[in-house]
Subunit: 410 residues, 2 copies
Amino acid sequence: MLNQDLTLDEQLAYLTKGTAEVINEVELRAKLEKSRKSGEPLTVKVGFDPTAPDLHLGHTVLIRKMKHFQDLGHRVIFLIGDFTGLIGDPTGKNRTRPAMTREEVLENAETYKAQVFKILDPEKTIVDFNSRWLGSMSSNDLIRLCAKYTLARMLERDDFSRRLNQQLPISIHELLYPLAQAYDSVALKADFELGGTDQKFNLLVGRDIQREYGLEPQVLLTVPILEGLDGVEKMSKSLHNYIGITEKPEEIYGKVMSITDLLMWRYYELLTDLTPNQIAALRGSVENGAVHPMQAKRDLAALIVTDFHSVEASVEAAEHFSRVFQQRENPEDMAEFRIAAEGGAILLAEVLSRTEFTATKSEAKRLIKQGGVSINGEKISDPMLQVDPASYPEFILKVGKRKFGKIILK
Amino acid sequence: MLNQDLTLDEQLAYLTKGTAEVINEVELRAKLEKSRKSGEPLTVKVGFDPTAPDLHLGHTVLIRKMKHFQDLGHRVIFLIGDFTGLIGDPTGKNRTRPAMTREEVLENAETYKAQVFKILDPEKTIVDFNSRWLGSMSSNDLIRLCAKYTLARMLERDDFSRRLNQQLPISIHELLYPLAQAYDSVALKADFELGGTDQKFNLLVGRDIQREYGLEPQVLLTVPILEGLDGVEKMSKSLHNYIGITEKPEEIYGKVMSITDLLMWRYYELLTDLTPNQIAALRGSVENGAVHPMQAKRDLAALIVTDFHSVEASVEAAEHFSRVFQQRENPEDMAEFRIAAEGGAILLAEVLSRTEFTATKSEAKRLIKQGGVSINGEKISDPMLQVDPASYPEFILKVGKRKFGKIILK
């Protein structure tokens, strides 16, 4: 059912809110107008990597944009790009990327669903797999597809031209993947494709290839890449600056509270459904002193926890936060670590490396040097500090801003 | 049956005679040695274009090299690259190259056979089609193949790098064809691949790809590109400097007689089975005056006519040549053209354009200007010359060196 309550301009504003780029607005308006007249929903394609179903808030910017299309009654396709996953790494160089089995693909699809259905409407979301059409393509079909694009245009993609210039190898098959993904738009007859700004090139190839197959080109809407907790780098698992959407309520809440006031407004824009007007009003109140920035941030944290858990969970997380971080109390249910110190005194770094907080002694030493470790509330700075079970049989260890543990030396 | 009469060194000399390059001789010797011991013949792959079954002497250099392998008992595969032909021009830009039907491919194969079996032994020649394995390849297989080669190496091919530098378009599918052809060597488990020097890059890709699929790399033998009758450009239909192998005996004979004395030695080397020693001896005799160069050329012409027709045909062609070109007689059975000149005098160029000698009036005028046209043995130079049926009711027209016609103006 198409949502006919909004005017065309309101629909446009709703769909383009928070986007980085729309290519192009004229076509977007025309498509919406056509759909409004015919009552036929439009098809929205969004591709996801089959190997990484562990989502963080960075991904939700895109998923939230999918939801906006769902809200207006359009047909949103969560497309899992399993064709490439089923091939694996054909160069054989990447041992960590063997070909996936169909079972693994389906398992990852379930993990994805469990996460994205926190935002998307399961009833309205079509989960599809591009192996359905790419897998049955013949070499002949693939060659015909490749004939529709030139090498020069493919080399306009930043990472290809950079690698070629730096004499880093590009395997010929890598040139085929953007075309295969573009063909997905042909197979689905996509009206829209959504993606991060880093996907713009691939999305544009989709437009070109659709034209080559006699279809009306899809309209692209790119969303910004969300900055991580540091406010500088993009949010990513490997940079450890992320909020996973399956994290516990108090973790999510605490991490949101750790961001800068400036980043808070970016998160408001990209991670909530508040309208631009509502956000501007709130920002005004903070700037004129009517609302304390800490309160605005607590509201943001509560909104985000509610999205991925529940209102109750967000209330509890807020209370937990007040206790631990504001009143500087130690949390109630702290993990206990019993660590053997048989030779008497033991390096604090060694103790840390035996907890879940750090993986290695050298990482522990680095953390201590950076001032990220306290014992019983007292910050430690000497990475070579030894603790003696005789004088410290038990103590509270704090690592970073939010991790606590009770250490019992034996 | 392997030919075991020759020593290994004699085999090597026989197979490398007249080649431009062998990559590499050590492997060539090892393969021959292994085959000699096991009694197993080796597999020789030679690829041919499915769309051009009309062969000229330029092609026979390669076909003769195939015969040398057959003479030694090896397994020679005449491979018709019909896979690409069946696809046609997938860019749709080349209207003269639509996809071929299987019937057309088979028909062309028959035309090829009729020609190449003038040189090759039909009993020993395997005619195969690469659509047999490439046609049943899945997109997945093709991607795996493409993963085995880098773009940088592909761009080492002269025409790709030149076109990229000159900003001429290269479609992505063009990058796949060298890999598909290389895969032919995998499918056939080729021990050798033969080709013109202009095919060296593609043949080398075959070596690389065979290694990637765990096979021993094929040994390449390239043969020189034969110069055309002009002695400068390569022999080619489009340059009109060729001798087609289905041409009439007297045409072939006459065309051979038209080449320079220098080119004659090149043709001896590449178009006959005379050994290097035999050719050197003949050349010596010509240089010290024991043999007239014209006689050496007549022997060459006779050898070539015999190859593609018969000894009898070569004797007749020699007699025809003596009559027409040496004694400057008009040939016996001259074509007659009855041309209407109703308005009285008519341009000679117009007359020419109505015979089979030239297609258009402007071509006829050019020929006249170049001094290529005579009337009754008298060279004409004025392209605007008119002939009047009153004074010239009949005359002998000579066009170029070897074409005669009787013109009757009415």
